[in-house]
Assembly symmetry: C2
Homo-oligomer: 123 residues x 2
Amino acid sequence: MNLDFKYNSDGLIPAIVQQRGRVLMMAWMNRESLRKTLETGVMHYWSRSRQKLWLKGETSGHTQKVSAWFVDCDKDALLFEVEQESGACHTGYGSCFFQPLDRQGEPLKITEEKLFDPEAVYK
Amino acid sequence: MNLDFKYNSDGLIPAIVQQRGRVLMMAWMNRESLRKTLETGVMHYWSRSRQKLWLKGETSGHTQKVSAWFVDCDKDALLFEVEQESGACHTGYGSCFFQPLDRQGEPLKITEEKLFDPEAVYK
């Protein structure tokens, strides 16, 4: 397996995840999580807060099946096209980027609806 | 201006840039580049290689006009919707993520065509 990308000083590379033209989230991968992702076909990350391998959806069931992936021109960022089970965000929204901002950096009205109730999912 | 996001230990936050559902690139911003972006309406980054403020398109003319922007649930990543002049990638492609990979991490055939000749633009 060829995983020779440019990882940062912590051994991590950013992974942008999209579904049908919508960016769902950005998270970090190390070589192990990338290998796991390619072997299993579902997204695995490195959790920086928990300092461990993280199968996305391991608690919620909201897994992400990889359909295609790309590396950028500098080999220091990855882009994954996925099929997302339910919503990607732990808050219940489809995308973690649900909060629009105005030109002053102040929050605008959130226009999308939650896809699930996080209290029911992460109980 | 409210720029109170979670910057990393270098004072940087990742910025994902998309146009009409296509991810064009990922780069890094500091507070100064974010302020410049919001004040001018065109994307400014922090160049980690050159360690300076970077107006995207300052050499090539391939600027990115901001139409909307979003912060993620953790406040540690930003997403910008832009109108890209010509192509985003310095190689001539529309997106920096032009290289698809297979399940072994090996490059697949690039299916898109270059939008400009980098030798003519960056002469």
